[in-house]
């Protein structure tokens, strides 16, 4: 699926280097993301995919390299200067990262209230719509601790989407969800792209999900971008590293 949108580069990552606990996680990782597309980032667990996503929203700063979002190099911005950039980016954390002192409705309404919205009727309508979008209506007053992992993730997704960000970063959006909900999340990502033109970067291991949503696929291997291409190029690749990943082979003796 080649993106049918105007092919303007909106996020460009250049030679990112990062070390964690003495281990080089990113060793010159480069990537480009076009406006309005969904890019799926594949890679082994612990390979630095989530670390990379955290760099994109300024939660981590690279040792070397640059990240340009919409023409602005965010690696040189200070914490307070990052706020406007972050408001245009929604991020779904791996475990949801809901605020456990607030119920679902307050969690989802949080970005609206923080952006100065005071009309409670408007907020409650938006919260209702956002929760309906992730099939979580009827759980407004529940606390995060009483939700299942999948429900928490969907509530977090509603929170990330409520301000209609231009960019969405998903950290394993379908992990831990039943296949039906996982499929509905995939369709939601697709719908957001088609209807609102949201540019998305999705970190996942889920190959079915990858082939459903991706316009471009990148494979992060040993700290570098090992593969970048379309789903068809991924499917037809004969590279052993890519084949092992796509087909889920470990080469270990049974």
């Amino acid at each position: 699926m080649i993106p049918s949108h105007n092919n303007q580069e909106i996020i460009s990552v250049d030679n990112l280097v990062q070390t964690l606990a003495g281990q080089k996680i990113l060793r010159g990782f480069s990537l480009k993301v076009y406006e309005g597309e969904t890019l799926v980032l594949l890679g082994r667990s612990g390979g630095g995919k989530s670390v990379f996503l955290r760099h994109l929203i300024g939660l981590m700063r690279p040792l070397e390299g640059s990240i340009c979002v919409d023409g602005q190099n965010i690696t040189s911005l200070k914490e307070r200067e990052l706020a406007p950039v972050r408001k245009s980016i929604g991020m779904l954390f791996q475990n949801g990262a809901l605020f456990d002192s607030m119920n679902v409705a307050d969690n989802v309404a949080f970005p609206l209230r923080e952006s100065g919205e005071t009309n409670e009727a408007f907020i409650s309508q938006k919260v209702h719509d956002a929760l309906q979008m992730v099939s979580l209506h009827g759980h407004l007053s529940k606390m995060p601790a009483s939700l299942s992992g999948g429900m928490r993730k969907r509530a977090a997704l509603a929170r990330a989407l409520i301000n209609q960000p231009r960019f969405m970063l998903y950290d394993e959006p379908t992990a831990g969800l039943d296949p039906i909900v996982a499929d509905s999340i995939d369709l939601l990502i697709r719908r957001l792209q088609r209807k609102l033109g949201v540019t998305s970067i999705v970190v996942t291991h889920d190959m079915k999900s990858t082939f459903t949503i991706a316009d471009h696929v990148a494979l992060l291997h040993e700290g570098r971008c090992y593969f970048y291409g379309t789903c068809d190029q991924l499917r037809t690749s004969t590279d052993p590293v890519i084949r092992d990943f796509v087909e889920g082979r470990s080469h270990e003796a049974p």
């Binding site: 955290r54 954390f93 791996q94 605020f99 923080e114 929170r159």
Partner: protein
């Protein structure tokens, strides 16, 4: 050589710690000056810090005043100076016992809760979620706690002092048989506005210490339950030690501005 390295390393890490605290304090004031004050959260924190500490502070003040008055009475009684108990209890409560004991209790109750809450938020990525939503964690978490503490702590200290003095008065006059009139006269004669000011200033300073030490420990908690536990313990220990050490220097300094009454 090993000793020098150990001492040097400890001094270096303590300097780094003070530097981090200074950055946190600077960021807090930058946020306040930038108008990032969430009144709703400040009120909520006043409830948590001030209202919910009532019982602890009342009991601490009451029993400290009662015990101190009893001990002072038995000492002064041998010198036939029973009515000196009043001013001794009152001045001690205002200048030292009230603010220090109240500070230590609040460090234990509120400081521990603050570092545990912020530490849990850190290890469960809630702090990252805040940042990702474009909200500065200092603005959302530290400023309301700081303002609530600055407002609540002097009131808690005064409450602690008043209850302590009252308890001392009741024990001395009703149980130990000292004359109420002379007790009150001496107490009021030797206690003045300077003592009250000293107690209040100390209360505010200790409150500020508790907030920044606890929030810093919480915001920098390491991964997992162990990390949060350590942050909480460190917050209470460091907060209490800071209070005791700074109290000494504060006493020396404040006695220049507020010397003891004649």
């Amino acid at each position: 050589m090993a000793l020098a390295r150990y001492v040097g390393g400890t001094l270096l890490s303590f300097s780094c710690y003070l530097g981090e605290l200074a950055f946190l304090i600077a960021e807090t004031f930058r946020g306040i000056l930038g108008g990032h004050i969430r009144l709703r959260l400040v009120i909520h924190q006043i409830f948590e810090v001030g209202y919910r500490s009532q019982l602890v502070v009342l009991l601490t003040g009451g029993f400290t005043g009662a015990v101190f008055a009893t001990q002072a009475f038995f000492q002064f009684h041998r010198l036939q100076m029973d009515t000196a108990v009043g001013p001794v209890v009152s001045v001690s409560m205002f200048r030292e016992l009230g603010p220090v004991l109240c500070g230590l209790m609040v460090a234990g109750r509120v400081g521990a809760a603050m570092s545990a809450e912020l530490g849990t938020m850190k290890v469960t990525e809630q702090l990252d979620a805040l940042r990702a939503l474009g909200v500065h964690p200092v603005d959302y978490l530290v400023i309301p706690r700081f303002l609530a503490m600055v407002i609540s702590m002097p009131l808690l200290v005064i409450e602690c002092i008043v209850v302590g003095i009252l308890a001392g008065y009741i024990v001395t006059t009703q149980i130990l048989g000292v004359s109420e009139v002379y007790y009150l006269y001496n107490m009021l004669h030797f206690t003045g506005g300077k003592d009250v000011a000293m107690g209040l200033i100390k209360g505010v300073v200790f409150g500020i210490i508790i907030v920044f030490v606890s929030c810093h420990k919480g915001l920098n908690a390491r991964e997992g339950a162990v990390g949060v536990g350590r942050a909480t313990t460190d917050a209470v220990v460091a907060g209490s030690l800071f209070i005791l050490v700074i109290n000494f220097f504060l006493t020396l300094t404040l006695n220049i501005f507020f010397p003891a009454a004649k």
